[in-house]
Subunit: 161 residues, 2 copies
Protein backbone atom coordinates (compact mmCIF):
# COMPACT_ATOMS: atom_id res chain seq x y z
CA UNK A 1 0.00 0.00 0.00
CA UNK A 2 1.36 3.37 -1.03
CA UNK A 3 0.02 6.91 -0.86
CA UNK A 4 1.32 9.45 -3.37
CA UNK A 5 0.12 12.48 -5.34
CA UNK A 6 -2.38 12.05 -8.19
CA UNK A 7 -0.38 11.96 -11.44
CA UNK A 8 -2.55 12.11 -14.55
CA UNK A 9 -6.04 12.34 -15.98
CA UNK A 10 -6.19 8.59 -16.61
CA UNK A 11 -6.12 8.12 -12.85
CA UNK A 12 -9.03 10.55 -12.55
CA UNK A 13 -11.19 8.06 -14.40
CA UNK A 14 -10.20 5.34 -11.92
CA UNK A 15 -11.11 7.69 -9.06
CA UNK A 16 -14.46 8.43 -10.67
CA UNK A 17 -15.13 4.69 -10.47
CA UNK A 18 -14.10 4.67 -6.80
CA UNK A 19 -16.47 7.59 -6.08
CA UNK A 20 -19.35 5.90 -7.91
CA UNK A 21 -18.72 2.55 -6.24
CA UNK A 22 -19.12 4.11 -2.77
CA UNK A 23 -22.71 5.14 -3.65
CA UNK A 24 -22.20 8.06 -1.25
CA UNK A 25 -22.06 10.97 -3.68
CA UNK A 26 -24.58 12.76 -5.87
CA UNK A 27 -23.86 13.52 -9.52
CA UNK A 28 -23.11 17.13 -8.61
CA UNK A 29 -20.74 16.05 -5.85
CA UNK A 30 -18.94 13.71 -8.25
CA UNK A 31 -18.61 16.58 -10.73
CA UNK A 32 -17.11 18.89 -8.08
CA UNK A 33 -14.75 16.14 -6.86
CA UNK A 34 -13.46 15.66 -10.42
CA UNK A 35 -13.10 19.42 -10.94
CA UNK A 36 -10.83 19.66 -7.92
CA UNK A 37 -8.66 16.80 -9.27
CA UNK A 38 -8.50 18.62 -12.60
CA UNK A 39 -7.36 21.83 -10.89
CA UNK A 40 -4.66 19.88 -9.05
CA UNK A 41 -3.36 18.33 -12.29
CA UNK A 42 -3.67 21.27 -14.68
CA UNK A 43 -2.73 24.22 -12.46
CA UNK A 44 0.63 23.26 -10.96
CA UNK A 45 1.05 26.72 -9.39
CA UNK A 46 -2.12 26.56 -7.34
CA UNK A 47 -1.87 25.34 -3.75
CA UNK A 48 -5.51 25.30 -2.76
CA UNK A 49 -6.29 21.68 -3.64
CA UNK A 50 -3.95 18.76 -3.08
CA UNK A 51 -4.90 15.25 -4.18
CA UNK A 52 -3.24 12.10 -2.85
CA UNK A 53 -4.15 8.60 -4.00
CA UNK A 54 -3.75 5.19 -2.45
CA UNK A 55 -2.33 2.31 -4.51
CA UNK A 56 -2.78 -1.26 -3.43
CA UNK A 57 0.11 -3.74 -3.59
CA UNK A 58 -0.93 -4.78 -7.12
CA UNK A 59 -0.97 -1.14 -8.24
CA UNK A 60 -4.78 -0.79 -8.30
CA UNK A 61 -6.08 2.59 -7.20
CA UNK A 62 -8.22 2.01 -4.11
CA UNK A 63 -8.96 5.48 -2.79
CA UNK A 64 -8.01 9.11 -2.55
CA UNK A 65 -8.14 12.24 -0.48
CA UNK A 66 -8.38 15.91 -1.49
CA UNK A 67 -7.43 18.59 1.00
CA UNK A 68 -5.93 22.06 1.13
CA UNK A 69 -5.23 25.17 3.16
CA UNK A 70 -8.43 27.02 4.05
CA UNK A 71 -8.31 30.43 2.34
CA UNK A 72 -7.80 33.43 4.61
CA UNK A 73 -6.70 31.35 7.59
CA UNK A 74 -3.29 30.75 9.13
CA UNK A 75 -2.63 27.04 9.58
CA UNK A 76 -6.16 25.70 9.02
CA UNK A 77 -6.80 23.00 6.42
CA UNK A 78 -9.98 21.59 4.93
CA UNK A 79 -10.33 17.94 4.04
CA UNK A 80 -12.64 18.25 1.03
CA UNK A 81 -13.05 14.67 -0.14
CA UNK A 82 -12.07 11.22 0.96
CA UNK A 83 -13.21 7.99 -0.68
CA UNK A 84 -12.15 4.35 -0.57
CA UNK A 85 -13.51 1.68 -2.91
CA UNK A 86 -16.04 -0.52 -1.03
CA UNK A 87 -14.18 -3.58 -2.36
CA UNK A 88 -11.17 -2.55 -0.25
CA UNK A 89 -12.83 -1.08 2.83
CA UNK A 90 -12.05 -2.33 6.37
CA UNK A 91 -8.35 -2.49 5.56
CA UNK A 92 -7.43 0.79 7.22
CA UNK A 93 -7.05 2.64 3.91
CA UNK A 94 -9.33 5.49 4.98
CA UNK A 95 -7.39 5.90 8.20
CA UNK A 96 -4.09 5.79 6.29
CA UNK A 97 -5.31 8.57 3.95
CA UNK A 98 -6.45 10.68 6.89
CA UNK A 99 -3.14 10.22 8.71
CA UNK A 100 -1.29 11.10 5.53
CA UNK A 101 -3.16 14.42 5.38
CA UNK A 102 -2.49 15.14 9.05
CA UNK A 103 1.18 14.38 8.57
CA UNK A 104 1.46 16.66 5.50
CA UNK A 105 -0.47 19.40 7.32
CA UNK A 106 1.80 19.13 10.36
CA UNK A 107 4.86 19.37 8.09
CA UNK A 108 3.49 22.69 6.87
CA UNK A 109 2.95 23.84 10.45
CA UNK A 110 -0.81 23.47 10.13
CA UNK A 111 -2.80 23.60 13.36
CA UNK A 112 -6.30 22.49 12.52
CA UNK A 113 -8.02 20.08 10.14
CA UNK A 114 -11.72 20.52 9.35
CA UNK A 115 -14.03 17.98 7.76
CA UNK A 116 -17.64 18.65 6.84
CA UNK A 117 -20.21 15.96 6.35
CA UNK A 118 -23.93 15.40 6.23
CA UNK A 119 -26.25 14.19 8.95
CA UNK A 120 -27.88 11.68 6.57
CA UNK A 121 -28.23 8.16 7.88
CA UNK A 122 -26.05 6.78 5.10
CA UNK A 123 -23.10 8.83 6.37
CA UNK A 124 -23.24 7.29 9.86
CA UNK A 125 -20.24 5.00 9.19
CA UNK A 126 -18.36 8.05 7.84
CA UNK A 127 -19.13 10.07 10.96
CA UNK A 128 -18.08 7.19 13.21
CA UNK A 129 -14.88 6.90 11.23
CA UNK A 130 -14.01 10.57 11.89
CA UNK A 131 -14.82 10.25 15.60
CA UNK A 132 -12.64 7.14 15.93
CA UNK A 133 -9.85 9.02 14.17
CA UNK A 134 -9.83 11.71 16.86
CA UNK A 135 -12.10 14.33 15.26
CA UNK A 136 -14.72 16.11 17.33
CA UNK A 137 -18.07 17.42 16.23
CA UNK A 138 -17.62 21.15 16.56
CA UNK A 139 -20.66 22.59 14.83
CA UNK A 140 -23.92 21.70 13.17
CA UNK A 141 -26.00 23.78 10.74
CA UNK A 142 -29.57 22.43 10.61
CA UNK A 143 -31.09 21.91 7.13
CA UNK A 144 -27.92 23.13 5.43
CA UNK A 145 -27.76 20.71 2.50
CA UNK A 146 -31.55 20.41 2.18
CA UNK A 147 -34.47 20.31 4.63
CA UNK A 148 -33.69 17.58 7.17
CA UNK A 149 -30.06 17.25 6.06
CA UNK A 150 -27.67 19.05 8.42
CA UNK A 151 -24.05 20.08 7.85
CA UNK A 152 -21.77 18.75 10.58
CA UNK A 153 -18.28 20.17 11.02
CA UNK A 154 -15.60 17.99 12.58
CA UNK A 155 -12.33 19.43 13.83
CA UNK A 156 -9.01 18.07 14.89
CA UNK A 157 -6.55 20.45 16.51
CA UNK A 158 -3.08 19.09 15.75
CA UNK A 159 -1.18 21.05 18.38
CA UNK A 160 -1.88 22.04 21.94
CA UNK A 161 -3.56 25.41 21.98
Amino acid sequence: MKIRPLQNTGEMEALRQVIRATEMFTEEEEKVALELMDIFLTQPDQRDYIVEVLDEEDGALAGYVCYGPTPMTEGTYDLYWIAVHPRTQRRGYGRALLERVESLVAQRHGRLVLIETSSQEKYLPTRQFYLRAGYQEQARIPDFYRPGDDRIIYCRYLQCK
Copy 2:
Protein backbone atom coordinates in the same frame (compact mmCIF):
# COMPACT_ATOMS: atom_id res chain seq x y z
CA MET B 1 -30.09 55.20 -3.03
CA LYS B 2 -30.15 52.35 -5.51
CA ILE B 3 -28.90 48.77 -5.44
CA ARG B 4 -28.04 47.10 -8.73
CA PRO B 5 -25.56 44.56 -10.15
CA LEU B 6 -21.88 45.47 -10.50
CA GLN B 7 -21.31 46.58 -14.09
CA ASN B 8 -17.66 47.03 -14.99
CA THR B 9 -14.05 46.83 -13.84
CA GLY B 10 -13.92 50.60 -13.26
CA GLU B 11 -16.40 50.09 -10.45
CA MET B 12 -14.15 47.40 -8.98
CA GLU B 13 -11.56 50.08 -8.29
CA ALA B 14 -14.19 52.15 -6.45
CA LEU B 15 -15.11 49.07 -4.40
CA ARG B 16 -11.45 48.45 -3.59
CA GLN B 17 -11.42 51.93 -2.06
CA VAL B 18 -14.57 51.10 -0.06
CA ILE B 19 -12.95 47.89 1.22
CA ARG B 20 -9.74 49.72 2.20
CA ALA B 21 -11.63 52.55 3.86
CA THR B 22 -13.40 50.14 6.22
CA GLU B 23 -10.00 49.03 7.62
CA MET B 24 -11.65 45.68 8.29
CA PHE B 25 -9.92 43.50 5.69
CA THR B 26 -6.43 42.10 5.29
CA GLU B 27 -4.55 42.36 2.00
CA GLU B 28 -5.37 38.72 1.24
CA GLU B 29 -9.06 39.28 1.99
CA GLU B 30 -9.10 42.32 -0.32
CA LYS B 31 -7.48 40.22 -3.05
CA VAL B 32 -10.10 37.47 -2.69
CA ALA B 33 -12.94 40.02 -2.63
CA LEU B 34 -11.68 41.53 -5.91
CA GLU B 35 -11.25 38.07 -7.48
CA LEU B 36 -14.90 37.29 -6.83
CA MET B 37 -15.97 40.57 -8.46
CA ASP B 38 -13.76 39.71 -11.43
CA ILE B 39 -15.42 36.28 -11.75
CA PHE B 40 -18.84 37.94 -11.66
CA LEU B 41 -17.89 40.38 -14.45
CA THR B 42 -15.84 38.13 -16.73
CA GLN B 43 -17.72 34.82 -16.48
CA PRO B 44 -21.32 35.69 -17.31
CA ASP B 45 -22.31 32.00 -17.34
CA GLN B 46 -21.24 31.33 -13.76
CA ARG B 47 -23.85 31.61 -11.03
CA ASP B 48 -21.70 31.04 -7.96
CA TYR B 49 -20.90 34.68 -7.18
CA ILE B 50 -23.31 37.56 -7.53
CA VAL B 51 -22.23 41.13 -6.80
CA GLU B 52 -24.65 43.98 -6.10
CA VAL B 53 -23.56 47.55 -5.46
CA LEU B 54 -25.18 50.48 -3.71
CA ASP B 55 -25.20 53.91 -5.39
CA GLU B 56 -25.91 57.03 -3.40
CA GLU B 57 -28.24 59.72 -4.76
CA ASP B 58 -25.29 61.53 -6.37
CA GLY B 59 -24.18 58.30 -8.06
CA ALA B 60 -21.22 57.64 -5.76
CA LEU B 61 -20.60 53.99 -4.99
CA ALA B 62 -21.04 53.55 -1.22
CA GLY B 63 -20.99 49.80 -0.69
CA TYR B 64 -21.49 46.33 -2.06
CA VAL B 65 -22.42 42.78 -1.27
CA CYS B 66 -21.24 39.48 -2.79
CA TYR B 67 -23.30 36.35 -2.29
CA GLY B 68 -24.19 33.14 -4.05
CA PRO B 69 -25.75 29.69 -3.82
CA THR B 70 -23.69 27.37 -1.61
CA PRO B 71 -22.36 24.54 -3.80
CA MET B 72 -23.92 21.12 -3.25
CA THR B 73 -26.87 22.47 -1.28
CA GLU B 74 -30.50 22.98 -2.20
CA GLY B 75 -31.65 26.49 -1.34
CA THR B 76 -28.74 27.59 0.87
CA TYR B 77 -26.85 30.79 0.10
CA ASP B 78 -23.60 32.22 1.42
CA LEU B 79 -23.13 35.92 1.94
CA TYR B 80 -19.40 36.17 1.18
CA TRP B 81 -18.68 39.89 1.51
CA ILE B 82 -20.46 43.02 2.56
CA ALA B 83 -18.87 46.44 2.93
CA VAL B 84 -20.09 50.01 3.26
CA HIS B 85 -17.80 53.05 3.13
CA PRO B 86 -17.30 54.44 6.68
CA ARG B 87 -18.14 57.89 5.30
CA THR B 88 -21.69 56.66 4.62
CA GLN B 89 -22.28 54.31 7.53
CA ARG B 90 -25.26 54.67 9.91
CA ARG B 91 -27.58 55.39 7.00
CA GLY B 92 -29.03 51.88 6.76
CA TYR B 93 -27.01 51.00 3.65
CA GLY B 94 -25.68 47.76 5.16
CA ARG B 95 -29.18 46.74 6.14
CA ALA B 96 -30.47 47.63 2.66
CA LEU B 97 -27.78 45.45 1.04
CA LEU B 98 -28.59 42.55 3.36
CA GLU B 99 -32.32 42.85 2.66
CA ARG B 100 -31.61 42.99 -1.06
CA VAL B 101 -29.77 39.66 -0.81
CA GLU B 102 -32.56 38.08 1.23
CA SER B 103 -35.12 39.28 -1.28
CA LEU B 104 -33.15 37.90 -4.27
CA VAL B 105 -32.58 34.62 -2.41
CA ALA B 106 -36.29 34.32 -1.60
CA GLN B 107 -37.14 34.96 -5.27
CA ARG B 108 -34.98 31.94 -6.14
CA HIS B 109 -36.76 29.88 -3.48
CA GLY B 110 -33.72 29.96 -1.20
CA ARG B 111 -34.29 28.81 2.37
CA LEU B 112 -31.20 29.76 4.30
CA VAL B 113 -28.58 32.53 4.30
CA LEU B 114 -25.22 31.95 6.00
CA ILE B 115 -22.68 34.58 6.99
CA GLU B 116 -19.29 33.83 8.49
CA THR B 117 -17.27 36.30 10.47
CA SER B 118 -14.42 36.50 12.91
CA SER B 119 -14.53 36.75 16.70
CA GLN B 120 -12.02 39.60 16.66
CA GLU B 121 -12.92 42.64 18.73
CA LYS B 122 -12.91 44.89 15.67
CA TYR B 123 -15.79 42.87 14.17
CA LEU B 124 -18.05 43.45 17.17
CA PRO B 125 -20.14 46.10 15.34
CA THR B 126 -20.41 43.70 12.39
CA ARG B 127 -21.65 40.89 14.62
CA GLN B 128 -24.15 43.18 16.31
CA PHE B 129 -25.35 44.27 12.88
CA TYR B 130 -26.06 40.64 11.87
CA LEU B 131 -27.87 39.93 15.14
CA ARG B 132 -30.04 43.04 14.78
CA ALA B 133 -30.85 41.97 11.23
CA GLY B 134 -32.33 38.69 12.46
CA TYR B 135 -29.32 36.37 12.10
CA GLN B 136 -28.49 33.87 14.83
CA GLU B 137 -25.11 32.57 15.87
CA GLN B 138 -25.32 28.94 14.85
CA ALA B 139 -21.75 27.70 15.19
CA ARG B 140 -18.29 28.67 16.32
CA ILE B 141 -14.96 27.09 15.36
CA PRO B 142 -12.29 28.09 17.91
CA ASP B 143 -8.96 29.31 16.51
CA PHE B 144 -10.15 28.90 12.94
CA TYR B 145 -8.61 31.99 11.33
CA ARG B 146 -5.57 31.99 13.62
CA PRO B 147 -4.94 31.19 17.29
CA GLY B 148 -7.42 33.23 19.33
CA ASP B 149 -9.48 34.19 16.27
CA ASP B 150 -12.65 32.07 15.97
CA ARG B 151 -14.93 31.59 12.98
CA ILE B 152 -18.55 32.39 13.82
CA ILE B 153 -21.34 31.23 11.52
CA TYR B 154 -24.59 33.20 11.48
CA CYS B 155 -27.75 31.80 9.91
CA ARG B 156 -31.09 33.15 8.89
CA TYR B 157 -33.78 30.68 7.86
CA LEU B 158 -36.03 32.51 5.42
CA GLN B 159 -38.97 30.11 5.59
CA CYS B 160 -40.62 28.14 8.34
CA LYS B 161 -39.00 24.77 8.62
